[in-house]
Assembly symmetry: C2
């Protein structure tokens, strides 16, 4: 694999993929709390140590690479509604943006080794997973 | 710039940089609500259309590339406290992780063209900015 890139460019290597019944961006919910199904986070074996402390009931933020999004879009009509004025993408949750990183809040339903089932994930089947972080609780519980 | 990379690798191109009085990872707060200072998000001219609707008072999520973090760390003692058991990094907010993407919740204090001042940002001076998203309000306000 060639990895020569210019200055000020960073390489992401996915740590897993989403396995989901959602396969179609048009019919997928726009946010996880708008009717998204349960899905599995399927991690690569090389990150087993990073995954192993995830527990049923944990509230997580999953970061994904929205590999079907466009990177050349800087302004959109929010939620695709052309009656709403166009807005810069940094003021919207459009998937189309210069670095199309998805941010999804989910809850762990089941743990099976490198496979973690989560509720309310609107990412499409096959979406690359970049990172997982716990939702922060109160400052004295960190 | 050479951009030949292998399959399943994605290229991030920063959209700006953080300008902050924080220059030292050791003394920086661990989270934005733990005493972080105000800082400026300084965007590149090519994303002006994406930035232009950010307003004073907006609550934002800023995604950064933690360029001083290690990518080969899969487990850590939470908050560097060796009395706490080691935990997989996906269960912690350690900056050290396979794809070191920082996630920061901030509030806009001032807007000056491509420069946006925000409260409570624990990122170090010079940190590359990847993306900015609004904090989601209630479903009927989206």
């Amino acid at each position: 694999m060639v990895e020569a890139v210019g200055d000020d460019v960073y390489l992401l290597r996915p740590v897993g993929r989403v396995a989901s019944p959602l396969t179609d961006a048009v019919s997928a919910p726009r946010q996880g709390d708008e009717g998204a199904p349960a899905a599995w986070l399927v991690f690569d074996a090389h990150v087993e140590r990073a995954v192993r402390d995830l527990r049923i009931g944990a509230e997580l933020l999953v970061l994904t690479w929205l590999d079907r999004a466009r990177r050349d879009v800087l302004a959109v009509h929010p939620r695709g509604d052309e009656s709403r004025p166009e807005s810069g993408v940094f003021s919207t949750r459009s998937p189309h943006r210069p670095n199309p990183i998805g941010l999804h809040r989910v809850r762990v339903l089941a743990v099976d080794g490198l496979r973690i089932e989560v509720a309310d994930l609107e990412a499409l089947d096959g979406t690359p997973i970049l990172d997982v972080k716990p939702v922060l609780g109160a400052a004295d519980e960190r």
